[in-house]
């Protein structure tokens, strides 16, 4: 979501070796058609990303992780309902296909962003030395979800970070300044494929972002994500010492992780607000892509 780090994020089509392997596993395990900016940014720390992923994957493939992300999504939708309606979709004369694609794009991020927050919170807590993996036993640890992106999920298609279109460039500039980003989020890059829509949606959401109730909603989401991360079923063997042994920039990684964790709740709220133009709250509190139980049993393919 946020582009920080010692070097530039690694795009999916440029990934090689271990990074390519991890990207593939991320898509499969998180059930998503693309790799979000938090991972692409972490990939700039080439030893960190595989170590981090290998440490969090046992949790990320569980029903408990999926359920926890579902809970965050539901909370975000309920909070967003009180923040107002944007009305961006109805303000434009979009065609049926355009509307179909925008809805599909929003479903994709509405699904994956809570997972990103949960995972980022878990990484942050681990790097701070807090214990993870004290699950409350509500979900059996061995229950896993079926890997692979859902058949109906749209591709994670994005406008270039440096678009040719002047209007889109200006829009990206405004978004990055307002949200204090170093790089534009995947979500906004996707919505920029329909520049008129992004323009209208951003103009309407921008004033909401400054409100106290918005900030309180975002803080509450972050707190909940940390609580859910602490309750994940598996320990996460990822420490600052371990990163030091790998020769990684521990301070840079921690700073990057903390900033992602700070910004993701807002992004989840924004996608929920955008989505409320297209779907009812009752539709949005349900996972857009419910996960089936994995046919693999613990001790099978890992």
């Amino acid at each position: 979501m946020l582009g920080l780090g010692k070097s530039r994020p690694v795009p999916e089509h440029e990934a090689e070796g271990e990074i390519e392997r991890v990207y593939h596993e991320i898509r499969q395990t998180l059930r998503v058609t693309g790799v979000n900016l938090n991972f692409r940014t972490w990939a700039a720390y080439e030893k960190f990303l595989p170590a981090m992923w290998d440490a969090v994957r046992p949790n990320a493939q569980t029903r408990a992780f999926e359920d926890a992300a579902d809970g965050l999504r539901e909370q975000a939708v309920r909070s967003s309902e009180g923040l107002g309606r944007l009305g961006a979709a109805s303000a434009l004369a979009l065609g049926e296909s355009q509307r179909y694609h925008i809805r599909g794009a929003l479903d994709l991020y509405h699904y994956v962003n809570p997972k990103l927050l949960l995972l980022t919170s878990a990484v942050r807590l681990s790097l701070q030395g807090e214990p993870i993996g004290e699950g409350d036993g509500r979900a059996a640890p061995e229950e896993r979800i079926e890997p692979g992106p859902p058949g109906a999920m749209h591709s994670m298609e994005m406008e270039s970070e440096k678009p040719k279109d002047k209007t889109v460039r200006a829009l990206f500039g405004d978004i990055t300044r307002t949200l204090a980003l170093s790089s534009i989020n995947s979500d906004y890059r996707t919505l920029a494929l329909w520049p008129d829509y992004l323009d209208a949606a951003w103009a309407r959401i921008k004033p909401i972002i400054g409100r106290d109730e918005y900030r309180r909603s975002a803080d509450s989401l972050r707190d909940r994500a940390r609580a859910l991360a602490r309750a994940l079923p598996h320990p996460i063997p990822l420490t600052a010492e371990r990163l030091g042994e790998l020769g990684e920039d521990v301070g840079g990684i921690q700073e990057t992780t903390e900033r992602f964790e700070r910004l993701l709740p807002g992004l989840i709220l924004n996608v929920a607000l955008f989505s409320l133009d297209w779907r009812t709250p009752e539709e949005l509190v349900r996972s857009p892509f419910p996960a089936a139980a994995s046919r693999l049993i613990r001790g099978g393919i890992r």
């Binding site: 795009p11 296909s97 298609e157 270039s160």
Partner: protein
């Protein structure tokens, strides 16, 4: 009409886990316009006003093209495209339709006409792939799976523009080229187009070549005669093999014949497809 205005006209039809984006304009005898590679339905935008007067004009983006489904998980061969188009027409309740195909859209049209003959009432082929006329060298290279890594989306776009320019008799303006390639300007679009190019397969036209002589339907073979991608000799062969087919050579036109000579091509199509105001083909139009 620019490409965004065209995109705003598009509707969507879901077919199982796949979906097609398409334009559906006008009323009357239905006509299906099929684009080729590396374009999308926007290829036909110049002919839409004329054809949608007397006809209901349906212009799908083929699977993997334009704004139809472009996920990296399905077959994009012209065989699969023909099956999907047939299913889609069935969903729309269209038992018979006139089919106009260009480039690999012509390959899809040939498979529809030969393998789903009851579906096609008239067949028009414009600088179409056929027999062993394809894939062309540039597309073979583009379709190599390694192209995904070798070429950034920006580099791919530059290459495709160069390739497209060779298909025009006169240099097209940048806006038109941008529009024709707009869906492929992203990494997802690039990958999808690479997969589309990987799916180009001569066997899918040679398989139906023996069936061409058995076709019993009005057919028009219309060719930009200076096409280097699909030379006119293939059009001549089609016109010989399809009984009663008319061959129209369009002078000073290359592969993108409908963009090089829109009025002339529109006139020929209207004449062939029938409808209000259609003029008959000029005398001698059928002479190679």
């Amino acid at each position: 009409m620019n490409w965004r205005e065209y995109q705003a006209l598009q509707r969507v039809s879901e077919l199982g886990e796949r979906f097609l984006s398409y334009v559906d304009e006008g009323r009357g005898d239905p006509v299906l316009l099929l684009h080729g590679i590396p374009t999308w339905g926007y290829l036909w935008q110049g002919l839409l006003p004329a054809l949608s007067g007397p006809h209901r004009v349906l212009v799908p983006d083929l699977l993997g093209f334009g704004y139809s489904d472009r996920r990296d998980c399905f077959d994009r061969s012209i065989g699969r495209q023909a099956e999907l188009i047939d299913a889609w027409l069935g969903k729309l309740g269209l038992e018979h339709i006139h089919v106009v195909g260009h480039d690999i859209g012509g390959g899809v049209a040939l498979r529809l006409a030969t393998l789903f003959p009851r579906r096609v009432s008239r067949l028009a082929l414009l600088n179409s792939v056929c027999y062993d006329s394809w894939p062309i060298e540039g597309m073979l290279q583009f379709g190599h799976p390694g192209a995904y890594r070798r070429l950034s989306a920006t580099a791919a776009l530059r290459l495709l523009k160069l390739m497209l320019r060779q298909g025009f008799a006169r240099s097209p303006d940048d806006e038109l080229l941008e529009g024709l390639l707009a869906p492929y300007a992203t990494e997802v679009g690039k990958l999808s187009l690479i997969r589309n190019a990987s799916a180009l397969n001569t066997n899918l036209t040679t398989e139906v070549s023996p069936l061409l002589t058995r076709l019993e339907l009005p057919a028009l073979v219309l060719w930009g005669e200076n096409d280097a991608f699909q030379p006119v000799k293939y059009g001549e062969r089609l016109a010989r093999d399809i009984s009663g087919a008319q061959l129209v050579r369009v002078r000073e036109a290359r592969h993108f014949v409908m963009l090089d000579r829109p009025d002339e091509v529109g006139g020929h199509l209207l004449s062939f497809l029938g409808g209000a105001g259609a003029e008959p083909l000029p005398a001698g139009a059928g002479v190679p």
